[in-house]
Structures are given as C-alpha cells and as structure tokens.
Amino acid sequence: MGQLRVFAALLARDVRVARRELPFFLIRTAMQPILFVVVFGWVLPKMGFLQRGYGAALLPGILAISLALASVQAVALPMVVDFGWTREIEDRLLAPISIRLVALEKIVAGVLQGAIAAAFVLPIARLIMGPIDGLSLAHAGVILGVTLLGAAAFSGLGLLMGTGIKPEQVGMMFSVIVAPMIFFGCTYYPWQGLSVIPVMKYAVLVNPLVYVAEGMRAALTPTLPHMPLGYVLVALTALTLGFWVLGARTFEKRAIS
C-alpha cells in the first residue's frame, strides 16, 4: 500500500514534467511520421508514383513508429542524462520504494507518452492522407490493446538502452539501432508483402517494431493482409517481459554500486 502511494507520486511527477513539455514532445515525436505521411501518403500518390491503396499499408506503420519512438525516447533519454551526469534521478532512488518499482514507474510513464503520441498522430495522418480503404475504428479494444502492449515493449527497450548505453553513444544508438529498426520494421510495407524476399521475411522477425506495425494493421485495417493477431500479442508480451526483466536489472546496476 505504502509503495503504491509512492509509485503514484513518482508518476505524478513525470506527468507534471511531461505536461509542461507537451508541445515540444508532440513536435519531437510527430514531426518525422507526419512528414513521411505528407510525402508518401499524399504527394507521391497524387503524382501517381504510388498506388492508391498504399495509404492503408502506411498508416498503421506510421502509428507504430510514433508509438515506439515516443516510448523509447521518453524512457531512454532522461535515463542516459540522469545516470550519465546530472544524477537528478537520485531523489527518486531515495524515495521510500524499491528500486525496481522506480524502474517500473519509468516504464509506465513511457507507455503513457507512447499512447499519447499514437493518439495525436492517427487523426492527423488520416486527415492528410484522405479516405483510406479498409480503415476501421470499430475494433477500439484491439487498437488500445496493441497500443499499450507495443508501448510497454518499447518503454522496456528504452529502459534497457537508457541504462546500458553511455551518454556519448546516444547518437550511435539512433543511427545504429533505431534507424534500421524503423526501416526493417514492416512500417512502410506490410510483412506479408515480404514473401517476395523470404530471407528478409523471417530475418525481420527479430525486430520488435514488426509486431507493433503488424498489430496496428490487424487492429486498424483488419480486412487487409497482416500477421495473425495472436502471434502479435504473444510476441509483444514476450518482448515486454524480456525487456522489463533485463532493463530492471541494468537499472539496478546503474542505481546501486
């Protein structure tokens, strides 16, 4: 009971800080996906370079990127800075709560930010791209489930990266880990489409983003080809647990010498 109250207070602190930074947060997380939507979801189709149906493949992927990036960054960046030099997190490590729950609180805050990013990008993308064949918001529960689970997996990844990476490696983290993850994450094309390159189709399965993107397809455009929802949920749950356990361990290592 006592620990739960401390947890809520820690979360309230993160919400306070996030609320203050909301405009910057939205610009930071939504800019790249929206630019992508403008070019690939509107300009190129208008020019006739892309088929009309491409928007339906693109939208869930774009949502997946926004969600994943927002969650990873929300956890990883402050963690790198806090442990790397400011030691600001110290007062939370000294709060009367176990260190693992401090780590878990960071993940929950990351999930919230990922969900907000997705909720922000979805209507804007839809607006820019115009009507999308097969888009259905009827499965709100599935959409919410995939969003939360995807955000949980990527917040966990953020914890792992944020505590395992040195401050001077942050730039590398984005170009070496995040960028390939986005391009090979079945975000700009559906996973089923990779059947034309079988090696790649199975190689990309190590990429967590694939499951978020395919989960979004299953939720938003269920009539179009996508990975079975069951696989997606199992994979995301396993990834979430794995990242949490590993992330909590590295967090503890950084927190206590």
């Binding site: 401390v6 309230a12 010498s257």
Partner: protein, 323 residues
C-alpha cells in the same frame, strides 16, 4: 535506551574492477576495510578524511546507494540490506553536487519530494514555505532551479532532505565549491538544525569545518578508522603541542638552531624569516623564544600562536596532508 542513529560493524566495501562475482582479485579497490561506527540520536557526527578515504562510500552504504561487500550497518534501527525502504524512510540526504529536479520549480522540488514520502499536499505546502524561508530563498519558490546560485541550490537540497522530517540527515561534503559567505550561511543552518535536536552525519575534508561543527569526529583514511573522539580530545592528541610562529626581520635559521635546545620546545625550524617552534605548553615558551631571536640579532615583527589542530593530528596519523 534509544536506538542508535547509526551502527556499523566490520563494514567492508570492495569495488570490483574485474567485474562480476567470485573471489576478489588484486586489481579490486578496497574502499572500506572493517569500519565500526556508532552514532547516537541527536549527535552531530563528522567523517573526516582525504579524498578516497572511504567517506563517500560509507555514506553511500548508509543511504542504501552502495551495496556493502561485508559486515552490517543500520540506520535508526533499519538494516541497510534487509530493509532498504525502511532506511530510506528514515533519512534525508544532501549530495556532494546539488542534483535538484530540473524539470520542476523550486517549490515543486519540495512538494513532489514530500509526496514521495506520503505527505499530504497541505502540510507539505506549509513545511515547504517554512523551509524555503529558513534557508533564505522564500522569494524564489516559483523560480526554475537553474536560476538559483550554487549556494542556493545546495540550500534547496537541504530543504528537500528535511521536508519529510528524517531521523538522520546525511551531508556529503556539503560546502565543496561554495564561496566563503555561502559556506558560513550553510554552517549556520546546520548549527540550527542540530540545536533543534536533529541527528546529522557529515563528511568533509575541511579540518576547520569538522572542528567547528561536529561533536564527534571519525578520522578515516584508506578505508580504515584512524581515530574517533571529540574534536577537542583529538586535538589534544595531536603531537607537537602548540605551534608558535615568530616572524623576524631577517633570516631565522640562527635563532632556530638555538631554540631547539630550549626546555619545553619539542621542535624548531626556520623557513626564511619565520621561526616555527612546537612547544609543550603554549604561552610559557613565547618569551624565551623572543629572547633567543633578539640574542641572534633579530627583531620580532609578528607572533602567531596556533593551538594543536586536527591538521597536525592528521599529519601524524597518516604521514600525509589532508588536501
């Protein structure tokens, strides 16, 4: 009998350079080697020693931020390994380098910290207002912490460490990097807190600070306890007695050569025009030394007496200077 504020037995910490568990290896750094400490409730206790002595490690263990490699330690009855949350509930910590929450304002720093400790908003607001007033930044409540000076940030750290009314307040080198005025202001705050009955444990490598503030001092070096007593008793143990310095109007060597043989003089040396002598009893030796200087054909320009100090004790215990 009241529960000890601090109790450590055979406390040991080895930082592994080899990484991982297993037996210790030659390259590993032993930061603490069997430390026994007892601090009573209400005491102002100091850990004095040079950098790398093990002071910060000791504080780290007592504040649950460093895992001991051996021995035991408890704070106000809570064990630092078995009951970390209990320890955290009982302590307030002021770090060596201010680490305020920069995402929050000055007041919010205190309010959220209070919330972590389950203090309701209304009493938290009252306490925060009172604390900010008492540390002299009552008018900066809504400022961003970046707008505070270094000294103000350090005082904010003290307010934050106090808002949940801890049993024991820990301060790690709290005045490093502060200008003299800010340092004096901080000393005043600490004295007042102690007068209110608070237990304070502080590390420092400033002799003067330890001497002026602490009731009892543990002198540590290379992870071991070298001496533990009140500053006055420790100083009494300092060898060489009172230092008498005579500044002459020229070379002091001839006078020093004679002074060595005077009764009650333990040691005498010359450094250019300064005659430095250690006397068993301070005042009595002064007139004899002045006479010696005049017989050597020198006039005495200045006389300075320094009582036995922690500095000289530390030098004798470790063979090294503090800084």
């Amino acid at each position: 009998m009241a529960v000890a504020a601090i109790r450590t037995r055979r406390l040991r910490k080895v930082y592994r350079t080899s990484g991982g568990a297993g037996t210790e290896r030659p390259g590993d750094i032993v930061a603490l080697e069997g430390l026994d400490l007892d601090v009573a409730p209400g005491e102002f206790f100091g850990l004095l020693g040079p950098n790398g002595a093990g002071k910060t490690t000791t504080l780290g263990i007592l504040t649950t931020r460093v895992r001991p490699s051996g021995g035991e330690a408890s704070v106000a009855g809570a064990d630092v390994i078995r009951d970390q949350v209990g320890v955290k509930r009982r302590i307030g910590v002021v770090p060596q380098r201010p680490n305020p929450d920069r995402g929050l304002t000055v007041l919010e720093n205190l309010l959220y910290h209070a919330a972590y400790f389950g203090i309701a908003r209304k009493p938290a607001l009252e306490r925060a207002g009172r604390l900010l007033e008492s540390i002299g930044i009552g008018d900066r409540a809504s400022a961003k912490v970046d707008q505070l000076s270094g000294g103000q940030q350090q005082r904010l750290m003290i307010a934050r460490a106090l808002i949940h009314e801890p049993h024991v307040l820990f301060l790690d080198e709290p005045t490093v990097g502060l200008d003299p005025q800010a340092r004096l202001a901080l000393w005043e705050i600490l004295r007042n807190l102690h007068a209110e009955g608070r237990t304070i444990v502080m590390t420092t490598h400033y002799m003067e600070e330890a001497d002026r503030l602490c009731q009892r001092l543990a002198i540590v070096d290379r992870g071991r306890l070298l001496a533990l007593d009140t500053p006055a008793n420790l100083k009494a143990r300092a060898p060489g007695g009172t230092l008498i310095e005579l500044t002459l109007d020229g070379d002091a060597s001839p006078a020093a050569a004679v002074a060595v043989g005077l009764p009650g003089i333990l040691r005498a040396e010359a450094q250019r025009d300064v005659l430095r002598a250690y006397a068993e009893r301070g005042g009595e030796a002064v007139s004899a030394l002045v006479k010696v200087a005049e017989q050597a054909g020198r006039a005495v320009v200045n006389i300075h007496l320094a009582p036995p100090s922690l500095e000289t004790l530390f030098l004798a215990l470790t063979g090294r200077k503090l800084d």
